[in-house]
């Protein structure tokens, strides 16, 4: 049944290590011979993984830039469905329908995003007798429309948020309705999901602005600019219930996922179960979720999202009629393979379990590893080629769902997610500790990534105590994320590691093999006086060596640093006074500059000999570029609108242009009041990170 596993294992990224799902694959239960996966990246790989276990042939679709992608290599067959832009490839229904006919696929798994909640697509499949692995069109339609879904939820006795049950016509009406409901309000796309086309407004002005942005985003993301407004629940938690329903009227709830850690309404860290729910609330939420599913004759896997306030009141938010990004944590604690269940259900098999058989085993945490810069608004997309890439799969109880490999490109065309890093433990503390190790051992080079932020979140006291809400990030980092703040001990550990690494590299530079012309009269050094710069502080260190162990003296303290000092490995495993730490050496150059990733954050250090340090006072200061009068693109993307032209006078904070990347629109504003000298971009143009957009005088 397993199709050439060995061939793809070396490249394949979903490697199941121990604690994931252990469902029995009953090969007598005949489902489909061939499934087409109408998606890309990690979710396409994830679906194929289960297909292979079930003995089902897989068909990948891909855009032309994805021809070498991992999901294409994993599949038994692959069909190109168009050029890079998603509207011409992964959203191109005609091409995908052709691919289905061409390959004779009997069913389609849509993954998430793209066509997963597109009723038109589901209809066209049904018309050709191809099974859609998901709910039927009726449920997609009913739940896909926020207004309709709310009405159905109300009827099914599901708690809902007070708000306006209709489409908002224009900005003026938005303001009127907002005032009726009372601020704060949430403006969101009727067709939306995933935080796109969603804005919160606290006053009339913000309502107007939010209306404009949301409708633009909604139009570009979903081709539907209808908006609605509802009461915004302040300080809520985002907790969702996974449901599973078959075509025979059976439905189960598979416990909750806590997804409160978000930035710009997109999830960053998820866990299952939630620290916040007691069994009663869990059951109440689960039962409401199941009754909603039953109300729309739901079949397949689905997710009912709730907002939960501090008094454990919960309100229905929306239902996602697809497999969620964060489904692995539910698989970890329940032992079910959700993709397998979806395939079974689509074929018409009844559920295998009763509600009483659904366990909560242990704890699972998921970190979404993104190619984005966490220092800019908790994450603005970044692009590039993964020059080095190594998943921490050497660790137990770590699951990495990814669709990329070393050498892959993270492009502006698609979601910047690198992978979903899932850790599992018998307890939450165990899972969290594992997550620390996994993040420290995760090697990603060539693109900026958000591991610094993830690594900080999971060790934050508020997170550890479970005191979180969807406002966690802005509350904990009101000034924006600035990376790990070193403690006195941490600083010493970092300094000692850098100094030892420097000495190890210096010593190796003297090791010429078989060279008879290296001096015999020079004694090998045993001690060094070094000067290490870190975060504008300068530290004098004494280092002495005994074998592979260095003793570093910093301000009267002594640290023993030992390691194998492998200078080729991106990972640097050291023992610091008996404590094991995994750091990463990102770069090291002749001028003594060393970049070390320590506790997730990258620190730049400079190690110099005492002599070089003393002489460096004479080196001229280089004058950095003045940045207040130039506006550069903070990320790669497309220019949507330019609101100024050369000669205009702009006020500080005034919008200059709008950049769209990964379907998010970002308004770029003037840093000072000035006249516009020149404009270097025009609407429709693609810009790279750091490209000059506008110059002010």
């Amino acid at each position: 049944y397993l199709i050439d596993h060995a061939a793809f294992r070396s490249r394949c990224c979903i490697i199941v290590s121990r604690a994931q799902y252990s469902t029995v694959y009953d090969h007598n239960e005949k489902t489909f011979d061939k499934i087409l996966i109408a998606n890309r990246g990690e979710i396409a790989c994830r679906v194929m993984k289960t297909c292979k276990k079930m003995g089902i042939k897989t068909v990948a679709v891909h855009s032309d830039v994805d021809a070498n992608a991992v999901h294409v290599k994993m599949a038994d067959e692959a069909v190109c469905v168009g050029p890079a832009p998603t509207s011409k490839s992964y959203l191109n229904m005609d091409a995908i329908m052709n691919a289905i006919r061409q390959t004779g696929a009997q069913a389609v798994h849509p993954g998430y995003g793209f066509l997963s909640e597109n009723k038109e697509f589901a209809k066209r499949l049904a018309a050709e007798g191809v099974s859609f692995i998901g709910p039927d069109t009726h449920a997609i339609q009913a739940m896909g429309d926020k207004i309709e879904s709310k009405l159905i939820a109300k009827a099914a006795k599901v708690n809902t948020i007070p708000g306006f049950d209709g489409v908002v016509k224009d900005a003026d009406e938005a303001v009127r309705i907002a005032n009726e409901i009372g601020y704060p309000v949430m403006i969101k796309a009727s067709a939306g999901g995933g935080g796109k086309g969603m804005r919160i407004a606290w006053n009339d002005e913000e309502t107007r602005e939010g209306f404009r942005f949301s409708s633009q985003e909604a139009a570009s993301s979903f081709g539907d600019d209808r908006l609605l407004i509802e009461k915004f629940i302040d300080n809520p938690r985002h907790i969702e219930i996974q449901v599973l329903a078959d075509k025979h009227g059976n439905a189960l709830w598979l416990n909750e996922r806590e997804c409160s850690i978000q930035r710009r309404n997109q999830k960053v860290v998820e866990e299952a179960p939630s620290t916040f729910l007691d069994p009663e609330t869990r059951r109440a939420m689960g039962e409401q979720a199941v009754s909603l599913a039953k109300a729309v004759n739901y079949s397949s896997a689905g997710t009912v999202e709730f907002l939960v306030d501090s008094r454990k009141n919960f309100y229905f938010l929306e239902m996602n009629t697809r497999l969620q990004v964060e489904h692995p944590i539910t698989e970890c604690i329940t032992g079910l393979d959700l993709v397998q269940q979806m395939i079974r259900i689509a074929k018409g098999f009844p559920l295998q379990h009763t509600q009483a058989e659904i366990p909560i085993n242990g704890w699972a945490i998921e970190s979404r590893v993104y190619a984005e810069d966490p220092y800019k608004s908790f994450g603005l997309p970044s692009i590039g080629r993964l020059s080095q890439y190594q998943e921490p799969l050497n660790l137990h109880n770590v699951r990495v769902d990814s669709g990329i490999e070393e050498g892959s490109d993270i492009s502006i065309y698609y979601d910047p997610m690198i992978s979903k890093l899932v850790t599992y433990g018998a307890t939450r503390a165990e899972a969290l500790k594992k997550m620390e190790d996994a993040l420290d051992n995760y090697v990603i080079r060539g693109v900026t990534h958000n591991i610094p932020l993830l690594r900080e979140i999971i060790v934050h006291p508020r997170f550890i105590s479970g005191d979180i809400s969807t406002k966690f990030l802005p509350e904990v980092y009101p000034e924006g994320f600035k990376g790990h703040q070193l403690t006195a001990t941490g600083r010493k550990e970092l300094l000692a590691t850098a100094a030892s690494l420097f000495v190890a590299a210096q010593l190796r530079a003297q090791k010429f093999l078989g060279d008879l012309r290296v001096s015999n009269t020079q004694q090998e050094r045993r001690s060094w006086e070094l000067c290490v710069e870190l975060e504008k502080g300068v530290h004098m260190l004494g280092v002495s060596r005994s074998g592979a162990t260095y003793t570093v003296e910093i301000d009267g303290d002594k640290l023993e640093v030992s390691s194998d000092w492998n200078l080729a490995s991106p990972l640097l495993t050291v023992t610091l006074n008996g404590i094991h730490r995994t750091l990463q050496c990102l770069s090291r150059n002749a001028a003594g500059e060393i970049s070390l990733q320590y506790l997730g954050t990258t620190f730049k250090l400079r190690v110099l000999s005492k002599l070089a340090a003393a002489l460096s006072v004479h080196m001229p200061e280089k004058v950095p570029e003045d940045t207040s009068s130039i506006l550069r693109s903070p990320m790669p993307g497309t220019v949507v609108a330019v609101s100024v032209k050369a000669g205009d006078t702009v006020a500080e904070g005034q919008e200059i242009c709008v950049i769209e990347a990964m379907k998010m629109q970002n308004s770029m504003t003037a840093a000072k009041t000035a006249k516009v000298r020149s404009v270097h971009c025009k609407p429709g143009e693609t810009v790279g990170e750091g490209d000059l957009l506008v110059e002010l005088e």
């Binding site: 050498g407 530079a509 003297q510 290296v518 001096s519 080729a568 150059n589 002489l615």
Partner: protein, 552 residues
């Protein structure tokens, strides 16, 4: 005559030494009766005087310009306590224009010379001292440099020059010019015998520039160094051009526009530390093998990313540096001339610890075509490697030579020939990997099998042909209608590695991810390669002609 001059010099030298010993203590009676003690004292004083060069005030001024002193530079460049100084007592012998006065005599004159170690390996160094007469070159100064160069040749060790000199010692006239010529001659004699490196750390103007130009590598310090034949004032008076020193001969100009310098560094410390790193790549002389250092990077490491690196469309660019970085040891690549003629990439790296020279076409810039500047850049590098036993690894993705009047008038034929010549002449191990295009004459040039390539590989994406499909079809099927079909036929036939492989022009078609492993193994095999060219007085490499303008 020469003997006579030597005697005269000797006398001047003695005279100077005696006189200046009284500097700073005029009240002391002129007496030699103190005997040994007095000599001891004089030695000590001279040594002390030599250590402070032009004095504290000038040292402060030097520091104020963001520059280190000659001795500080030597101390940073060499291993601690390894410097052995020569000629600290040498003084200039000029007696005109008041130069004979005590206060115009400085033990060691305006240059510090000697030998020392970089990571334990021998190197000869001279470091011009700007605090003494602006580092100007006197006869004595030149003589000191010549002495260490002669000795470096005798024992076979590289010479590093740290240049910081206002030019000729005008007071000395022709003596100074003779000094330059003596150095030039030695630069030429040492060329190909020991590596010679120049690091420009201040002014270097007039005839002085030709010494760095004759050495193998010229590095510069940004903002504080410049190289030119004539300064901005003369330029203004002769050609009426307004130009600053920086624009005329700064690091940026020479590393990006003229191609005179091979690399620039941020400041003195940065430059010297980088020079230490660079030095580790070099063999000590033409009699020494390419050095091998301890290596932690497994020689059989696979590089999976390479299997998807070359884009499917043959017109799409990729970065050859990605190929190089992922194949060489520890991603450590010392690029030479990174900002000049960027359509070719050259530099040093290691494979399983052994230094290799890397040459690669860069598809990211001008499609990686060969033009005047890239040919000259490549040729010079290849000849260095060949002279000093450094194996050459060539990555080929070249659509051909750049067409156009600018190139033809500039002499692309002559300049392209230099690269061809260099590869053909080289007898060091030569390994070539065709990653994608190898079109036309450029295929032949880029270390092809026909030019005695030892191991030539093609990746599956390789296309070895006379030209691209479109152009070829227009000629082969001229006047016929079905161009698309013809193109498809051509692509099927030629846009793949087979035509070359069936003829044995490539030794194997390799999976890109295995390239590192293959190269490491081949280098091991080729380590004992012995090949000699026919006897000749010297070859006649097509040198002549002016170079084209820089590709920015």
């Amino acid at each position: 005559m020469a003997a006579l001059a030597a005697v005269r010099r000797c006398r001047v030298l003695l005279h100077g030494a005696v006189k200046s010993s009284f500097r700073g203590s005029p009240s002391q009676p002129r007496s030699y009766s103190a005997g040994r003690l007095s000599v001891q004292e004089r030695i000590e004083r001279k040594r002390q005087a030599a250590l402070v060069g032009g004095g504290q005030k000038r040292i402060d001024a030097q520091h104020g310009r963001g520059k280190l002193t000659a001795r500080e530079r030597v101390a940073l460049l060499l291993d601690p306590d390894s410097f052995v100084e020569y000629d600290a007592f040498v003084e200039h012998r000029c007696s005109d224009f008041g130069m004979e006065a005590d206060h115009n005599k400085f033990p060691g004159d305006s240059v510090v010379t000697g030998q020392g170690r970089i990571n334990g390996r021998l190197v000869y160094v001279f470091s011009q001292d700007f605090t003494v007469f602006g580092g100007s070159l006197s006869g004595a100064h030149a003589q000191k440099i010549c002495k260490i160069m002669d000795q470096a040749m005798l024992v076979g060790a590289p010479v590093i020059g740290l240049n910081d000199s206002g030019g000729a010692r005008i007071q000395e006239g022709v003596e100074s010019l003779a000094g330059y010529a003596d150095i030039f001659l030695r630069n030429v004699m040492a060329s190909g015998v020991v590596p010679q490196i120049s690091l420009i750390m201040g002014p270097c103007a007039g005839g002085a520039v030709y010494s760095p130009a004759l050495t193998d590598f010229t590095f510069m310090v940004k903002d504080t160094s410049y190289l030119f034949i004539t300064g901005p004032d003369v330029v203004k008076s002769v050609t009426n051009e307004d130009v600053t020193q920086e624009e005329l001969g700064g690091a940026k100009t020479h590393t990006a526009v003229s191609g005179v310098a091979h690399k620039a560094f941020e400041n003195d410390i940065d430059a010297l530390l980088n020079l230490r790193e660079f030095f580790n790549f070099l063999p000590l002389s033409n009699k020494d093998p390419s050095p091998v250092t301890e290596c932690h990077d497994p020689s059989d490491r696979l590089v999976p990313g390479l299997d998807t690196l070359v884009p499917l469309e043959s017109t799409k660019a990729y970065d050859m540096l990605d190929v190089i970085h992922s194949i060489v040891d520890e991603r450590d690549f010392f690029e030479i001339m990174p900002n000049y003629a960027k359509n070719i990439v050259v530099g040093f790296a290691r494979m399983n610890g052994r230094t290799v020279g890397i040459v690669g076409n860069q598809p990211k810039v001008a499609s990686g075509c060969l033009d005047i500047n890239s040919s000259v850049k490549g040729a010079r590098f290849v000849r260095f490697c060949d002279a000093f036993n450094v194996p050459i690894i060539t990555f080929v993705d070249v659509p051909g030579f750049l067409p156009g009047t600018a190139q033809e008038y500039g002499g692309i034929i002559r300049h392209g020939a230099k690269l061809l010549y260099a590869f053909a002449e080289a007898t060091v191990p030569k390994i070539t990997i065709i990653t994608r295009k190898a079109y036309g004459g450029a295929y032949d040039v880029m270390s092809s099998k026909h030019l005695r390539g030892d191991v030539n590989y093609a990746w599956p994406s390789a296309e070895v042909a006379v030209m691209g499909a479109k152009g070829a079809v227009q000629i082969i099927f001229r006047g016929k209608n079905n161009q698309a079909d013809a193109e498809a036929e051509y692509v099927e036939k030629f846009a793949n590695p087979f035509p070359a492989a069936v003829r044995g022009f490539v030794d194997d078609i390799v999976v890109p991810s295995t390239t590192r492993r293959r190269i490491c193994r081949d280098l091991e095999v080729l380590a004992t390669k012995k090949q000699t060219n026919p006897w000749k007085k010297h070859a006649n490499v097509p040198l002549a002609g002016k170079k084209g303008r820089g590709r920015r």
